[in-house]
Symmetry: C2
DNA sequence: CCAATAAGAAACACTCGTGTATCTAAGGAG
DNA sequence: CTCCTTAGATACACGAGTGTTTCTTATTGG
């Protein structure tokens, strides 16, 4: 392992490539895809365009690579607090920490990207979800059903996605992380009443 | 009234201005704000850039004007079918006709615009809602409450917006109008159960 | 009918980003 | 220590869009 701190000297191989993709991602975050230029990425990474062109032939492929790279670095955790309510609130608040900026960025800056590639946010989400392919929220629902907190018959696909759809909607519309009150509202006032087992 | 059809000859005044703003709006729709150029607008409008520069000094002001102009031409209707369910479904399906493209366009193409102006979709919606300032969905809720179809105590602000938030979320994520089934699902499976008066 | 106005065409200098090519020197492999 | 890959710098031709200016001519108002 070569020392990674101190004066960077001249970076190579994987270290350099990560730095390039990070710079590209930051550039996307700060200025959006519309103003996403190879030049700016090179400057931010402290290198020259040639280094970028050696790896990615076009702007779009660099952007794609940067997005994929950023996605890969997101770690996903599925909480297990012992209650459905606690799990969902924890999960959404964790999203606030780890993903709200990511989601906002995707929503706001990538319009031109979607337009050019013909993709939609839904498409991108699918490929991200496939990429992660780890444990999912379904675990939370399964545990809740086992505890009798949730009626599986009431959990239609749309309702299963409801808390996350509402979370995502808020992010896309306000570009800010949700307040804890908003998260609690989504869970307590909307989701839980819809899935709670009815007293027969 | 001068004849408005036939060979357009040389347009002037309001007629020309409308044509310019329409062309700008179409250009935004087709290619997004990222690829929104004065040149393209001039070409689409069948005129020269000078004509545009005489009216709007910058690209951004032209885009702003085009958006405002497009917003102004949207007519809003509030249905009155006699039932809450019917009103909401009618309203959302009407959105499908009149606004889904508009909403999709706003979500997707205007990222760079938001980034530059610092506005969010929420801000833009506020100014649009203010602009319209006509009858609102509140009317529908009031009538439903009067008929006893809706418990006003359960209608928190978030729940009042819920059908529209979900509608908007779907549009932003899929960039397509919602299927009628999806609209019915939002109303029947999610909204109505949350606001129906509980048998005391 | 005439004069004022403004549409529309065209040319210009300018900026910014692209993509390629060339050169140097850093730093790893042998 | 030496060679060889390649990071990083720099220069160039090119295209696309901007914003300005000048000129013409259609159209309108008086």
């Amino acid at each position: 392992m070569t020392p990674t701190d101190g004066k960077p000297g001249r970076r190579r191989g994987q270290e350099l490539e990560n730095a390039l993709l990070d710079a590209a991602w930051d550039e996307l975050n700060d200025h959006g895809y519309g103003a996403f230029t190879i030049d700016a990425v090179a400057q931010r990474a402290g290198t020259s365009r040639a280094v970028l062109y050696r790896r990615w032939p076009t702007r779009d492929e660099l952007a794609q690579a940067a997005i994929t790279h950023a996605v890969r670095t997101v770690v996903r955790t599925v909480p297990d607090t012992g209650s459905l309510r606690g799990d969902l609130i924890a999960m959404l608040l964790d999203f606030n920490e780890t993903r709200s900026q990511f989601a906002a960025m995707l929503s706001v800056h990538l319009g031109a990207f979607y337009a050019e590639t013909g993709q939609t946010i839904a498409d991108l989400r699918r490929s991200i979800v496939r990429e992660e392919s780890g444990p999912t929220v379904q675990e939370i629902y399964d545990r809740a059903a086992a505890r009798g907190e949730l009626d599986p018959d009431r959990l239609t696909p749309r309702i299963a996605n409801l808390p996350f759809d509402l979370y995502r909607h808020d992010i896309m519309v306000t570009l800010q992380p949700l307040s804890e009150a908003a998260v609690v509202e989504i869970v307590d006032d909307i989701f839980l009443p819809l899935v709670r087992p009815r007293p027969a």
